[in-house]
Symmetry: C2
Subunit: 143 residues, 2 copies
Amino acid sequence: MERQLSSVEKLKEKIEEIKVAMMVTVEPNGALRSRPMATRLLDAEGNLWFFTNEFSGKVNEIMNDHDVNLSYSHPDKQKYVSISGKANLIVDKEKMKQLWNPILKAWFPDGLEDPNLALLKVRIIHGEYWDDTASKVSQFVKI
Amino acid sequence: MERQLSSVEKLKEKIEEIKVAMMVTVEPNGALRSRPMATRLLDAEGNLWFFTNEFSGKVNEIMNDHDVNLSYSHPDKQKYVSISGKANLIVDKEKMKQLWNPILKAWFPDGLEDPNLALLKVRIIHGEYWDDTASKVSQFVKI
Ligand SMILES: Cc1cc2nc3c(=O)[nH]c(=O)nc-3n(C[C@H](O)[C@H](O)[C@H](O)COP(=O)(O)O)c2cc1C
C-alpha cells in the first residue's frame, strides 16, 4: 500500500505541470489515433479522469478496445511520461460536478447541463518516465 | 501531387518546433506503450524517419503490429499533432549516414559504428492537429 501511494504521488508530480495528455485509442481497423485531453484528476487508486462527449469517436474506439496510452510530454522541460491503461466510460453526475472546471467550456459550452457529458476513467496499468535526454534508461511507475 | 506536397509542408511546419514525438506501439497483449523519439526527417513522400536499436522493445512491437501513433505536443504553445502511420525497420547504411546527428549520441554512444543501429520509417496514413485549446474541431492532413 505504501508503495502504491508513493507511485501515484510520483506520477502526480510528473504530470502536474503538463496536464494535457495525448490520449491514444485503437480504431477498429487497428490504426492508432490521439487527441489532446485535459487531465482533471489522478485519484489515490491510480485512475486518471477526463471529461468527454458520450458519443465521440474516442468513446466508440474505447468501447471496442479499452486499451489506451496517455502521453504527457513537454519538450522544453525535457519531461516525458507514458501511461498504459484501460479506459471506461462513466456517467456519474456527482463526480462530474466535483471534477468540473470552467476551462472545459471551450469544449463543452453547455457545461454540466450538456446531456452528452460523461467521464472517462483510465485505470493505470503501467507508467514510465524520462527526465532528461541524457538518460537512456527510463524509470518505472508500477501501480 | 500539389495537394500532397502542401500537406507534407503544413505538417513539417507543425512538427518542426517540437521535434520529439511520443511514439506509441501495440504490445502483443494489446497494451499501448509510448516513448520519446527524436524525429530526424519528414521526407517529401510523407515518411517520418527515426533512429532505433534493431533489438529494442519498440521494434519487436512493430514487427508484430506495424500501426503506430506519433504525437507531437507542446503544452506551452498549445500545439498538438497526432499522426497515424505504419512503421517499418530499415537497415540502410547510406541513409543512416545522411540522417545521423551527434545529438543522438545520448542514446547511441557508438554512433554509426553501432552494429545494432537501424532506422524506423513511418509512412503517414493520417494526421490531425490542434492549434489552440479554443478550437474544438481539429484540422486534417491527409497524405
Ligand atoms: C528526448 C528523447 C529522445 C529520444 N530519442 C530516441 C531516438 O531517436 N531513438 C531511440 O531509439 N530512442 C530514443 N530515446 C530513448 C527512448 O525514449 C527509449 O527509452 C528507448 O528507445 C527504448 O525504448 P523501447 O524499449 O520502448 O524500445 C529518446 C529519449 C528521450 C528522452
